[in-house]
Amino acid sequence: MTHRTRLFALLFVAPFIGTASAQASDWEQQVDASVSMIEATDIEFANGVLNVDPITTRAGYPRFVGEWTRDERAAPLMLQRLLNGDDHPTVQAALVEALPRTGGEWDDAIAALWEDTSDPTVRRMMVLTLEKASDDVAYRALNTAAASEDAEVRAAAVRAMTWRKDAERYEPVFLAKLTDQNDEVRSLSARASGLHKLDDAKLGLASMLDSETRDDIRLNVLIALHQIDAEYARSLSAVTRIARDEDGKLGRTAVRLLAD
């Protein structure tokens, strides 16, 4: 279904069907209007964005690059591609990843779309990209994501919150998620607590040193404790024990922290 057909259906058919949710949202109308205008004024640019392939990065992920990605007109066109749904999920995720770089309007759309997106790669990227959304849009959407039943979504939410310029708003989430049932969520929450030097996280992190079984999580916890309060970290018997008993990166890190 093209975007014009869909918008027609939403605007002119849906009211007769009586489906409240079929009303075109503000952002959808804005996308459609923007796409129409761009097609009318710069069809080459519109066709380019609607059809360009991403490059394959060195890590194997697709990524859209080029001067056109820094043009705010690209945002509605990329959102239109998303709505069309014709691209492979990884390409859709690449479209989402590129949206903040355009400088255009996109965050209302992503905040609205992520919960109903079925593909996990696309959904995860949408939540991660909320890192760059405007403050209030991000706050609502990320808090919802942090409470998702999907552990991958919760982890993405914590990770996005970590890098936001207003990360202090999310400190309660970082603290709460230290006891999440999912390993990755706890690990990312520990990291966030350390990076933002949350004093209230110390006890929880100290407990994690004993309870966590994955070395990479224990490493994150160790580093976080040192970042928050190096003296406190050095006082923990668990840290001494790790320095004494553990090999590899974890043990060396503990030794280094004790000597710091």
Binding site: E97, E184, R191
Partner: protein, 549 residues
Amino acid sequence: MHPFNKPRLLTTHLALGALLISSAGCAGAKERKALEEAWNNFGDLAGIGNLDDDDEDGTPDWEQNGVEGDNDLLEVEIPANVAAGVKDGESLLVTLGGDTDNIRVWLDGEVLMGDGGEIEATLTTGESAIILGVEFADLLISGSLTLSHIDKDGVELYGATFDVIASPMILNHHLQYAEEMWMVEMSSWGYSNLDMAEAIEAELGDRFQTIPGTDYGYDVWIQDEVEWSTLNGANGLRTDLVIDSIRNTGGSGLDDFPEDYLVQPDVIASSWGSGWGNTYDSFGNLEISPPVSVDGVDYPYGRVFWGQRGTTGPTEDLRDQLTSQGVQKPFQQDTIWLCVGHIDEVHTFVPDPDAPRGFRLLMGSVTAGYEFLEGLGDNTAIPKYSSDYHYSTVGEILDDTALRTWNESLQTTYLDDIEQVFRDELAITDEEIIYIPSVFEENRWCPNNTALALIPGIVNSLIATGNDETPTKLFLPDPFIRANNASQDEDPLIQYVNDLLPSSSEAYWVDNWDVYHLGMGEVHCGTNAQRTPDGEGTWISNARHLIEE
């Protein structure tokens, strides 16, 4: 082992020599001395496996038992005076030892010994030198030749045993002249790397070649696809062995590049490992140090290393193969914390004749990165980072305390360890290290808590090593720490790094922002270089201790 070793022979023949001198006079004494010297001059010789296809008929030459134009046989010369010294009733025997099934000894176009057949022969002698050709089936095939001059009573008058060994594969390092370099060219709606290709070609000329990206699915990561090594032997014997990564299979991406562009007489391609490769199988994650001595052990061809942690790393088959070659004893670095995971993201070696051992190690450093940024004004505009990273000024990067704290943990947890491993395994000293400002980010595509260059990874550069006729040229990714209308001359990071680089090198800063930097790589990742090997079979003497370890 031959029963007649040189010291015993020498004693025996000094006695015989004395007898001969008394009967033949001074002229005969000179001849005898020359003859003894000739026999004492036989020494171990380096050959190469006959793995290439000199007649280009699609079959490796060893499998054909004689090939027109074959240039891979090790010539063993039996000097004229040795041959002429064999009188009527006497004989000159040659015996092949060692891995005889995988060695052929040729004489006058015919197989004399080996390959599962005879291992001893009597040579027809005259006044001329005798040239044997020794052919090897593979890498590091080891054999010996024993020559014996037997008198009419069956007593050995002279004898010599020496080793003949096929070269290991020796990977190229950055102190070797870059003979030829490649890059994949791409241009599509919205992005292109043609300007970068043009900039490099302007400085390298015929040594630089572009490959059409349309033929290879726009796979620009040519560094990751192949790694160059050489087999080299006495008298200029050389075959280049291109190690073909398993990162691509079934003709996808650059999979066919070696066969299309590189394989020819004296150049072969081989792969180790099978199945789906992972990022650690890419050859930006396989590097070689310059020659070093460590704890009294000489590594005249440097040491191989790659990124790995635990069992996560390059395919075991390749690791085993590289270890088995001996001469470049491998070690590992932890690169699992990097999004791409390649060791070339955080270091490189550059030639520097003024350095203690002729090179410097350029190490990516977050400490140096933040010190450098703090030395600039907070209002220093960096518009290039505005759209793609949402930092418009240097001050905005510095104000991102979470980013800084995370970067500092990368330095203490990972980068310091990488540096220490270089110090331990290569005996790197303070004087040899140049710290290059670096800052990393956690890109949304990347696995949790893995790092990717935010400021372009300057160490991730093309090292176009020069020779006596041309200087070394470094092609580094432009970091764009400047306003849009400012030139590279006004870029403080370019100036800073230029002042650190060896004065013997010429630095060229290329724009690789879109296709490479935002593509999670830099200049080194997008280029590859074939280099001139060191020595002609000198490994048989200067690296023998490593092979036999």
